[in-house]
Amino acid sequence: MDETLKLAQEALAAAERANFVANNTWMLVATVLVFIMHLGFATLESGFVQRKNVVNILFKNVMIVTIGILSYYLIGFGLMYPGVEGEYLSFGGFGLNPPAGDAGSINYADGNYTYYTDFIFQGMFAATCCTIVSGAVAERIKLIPFLFFCLFFVSFSYPITGYWKWGLGWLDAKGFYDFAGSTLVHSVGGWGALAGAILLGPRTGKYTSKGIKPIPGHSMPLAAVGVFLLWFGWFGFNGGSVLSADPDAVSFVFVSTSLAAAAGGIGAFIISKIVYKAFDLGMVLNGVLGGLVGITASADGVSIPSAILIGFIAGILIPLSVNFFDRIKIDDPVGATSVHLVCGIWGTIAVALFGNYDEGVGTWSAQLLGIAAIGAFTFTFAFLLFYLIKVIVGIRVDKEEEIQGLDSGEHQAVAYQ
């Protein structure tokens, strides 16, 4: 009977371990899926830029990932998850400081994942915000100044606002809700993109006296590959944000995310046909992304029909927003502001509109406060940072180089031989 007790205890321990292993495995798979989103961005952006700037955009995307992960290791993680609640700013220390023994393992997050899993999953998100910026400032920004921007943006701006909500800072206390980062990741990137696009000004020849002169991307296949890869990665981005492998939650998130993405594509398809009289691949691709960004804030807490509606509206917003930014002469070669900023804001509002969360969570006031606070902070941070760099070393390549292309200018190379 004493035997039996031991056996039962042993069984329970083994069962808890098994749950731990299964949950952690999913979180690691989700990490891998989020990683590949960087390839998604790299291909999407290189597809949407001109042939003469492809090496440059690829170079940036590779560097962003390396810088992003390393700086998140050095500073970002400590800033975003200091382990202090309710603050505006707090720092948990440099590098990784895993709690010893089970405290960093099975007990770190109720048997859902380890300390290292936590870091690497979060670390994969970090670089994303800079990748979003790189698309909007493409084809005219200087390489090194841009990398400097990324270093500071991902080391400070992203983790600080990330702390406010996911690090259980003050915004979380206020009931602000953002499931997987419509605001914390996408809008943040979008605000940075907007700041950069404004300070840089449009590409030479984009807005002429004769009106808008489109500068088409050089490879639609690359762009399409990018969108499929991003959708692919989004299963990890949203599915992993459940922070466990809870079957009900994760499978629900898969469904809401996929249907929203699909609805986004349909929405963009309809509008670009009706309003712009064309079957515009670029629009439909961005519509899918819009749907994904839109559902990201509430993928775990809306009804499926709501998810579809959220995605559909996001898809509709894309062509209108792209057109709007062109009208106000803010030149964004890949449409990052429309996809990540506009749909990110929409998705965060959708939490208040459609979300089924606990009392006081995701309220109108909380959501608007979050959008405003994070928007204000991030835009200011990015704008000042870009501005500083601009006055010190300059951020825009000279006109001759822009016309020749950044590949021959910055890299003495060509993308295709």
């Binding site: 489109p214 712009y276 064309a278």
Partner: protein
């Protein structure tokens, strides 16, 4: 020897080559060109903006022939390349002072009949 140059629609190119072959003109060089002419350029749509690329894509032929083939060649091209729509293109002929076949070293009309 004469040089006949012609700018034709890509969609008509094969017919032109066949027409020339019928008249025993089997040798020619061609390459892709772009052009401005009566026909306005293709209209494109990108990101909700419709625009005109300005130029149209065409194929240019270059044919080296001896005097007595010129009219036949022109006629063949003219009939085969014609659609009657704007954009059909041009044919123009100029004189050559020398023609040498690199392999045979033959010059003049022998340069191309060897």
């Amino acid at each position: 020897m004469k040089k006949i140059e012609a700018i034709v629609r890509a969609s008509k190119f094969e017919e032109v080559v066949e027409a020339l072959a019928k008249d025993d003109i089997h040798f020619l060089t061609f390459y892709e060109v772009k052009g401005y002419g009566h026909q306005k350029g293709e209209s494109r749509s990108y990101r909700g903006t419709v625009y005109d690329v300005g130029y149209i894509a065409r194929i240019k032929l270059e044919i080296i022939v001896s005097e007595d083939f010129v009219q036949a060649a022109i006629h063949a091209i003219e009939t085969a390349a014609k659609t009657g729509e704007k954009g059909d293109g041009l044919i123009y002929v100029s004189a050559l002072e020398q023609t040498i076949n690199i392999r045979t070293g033959n010059s003049g009309s022998d340069a191309i009949n060897s």
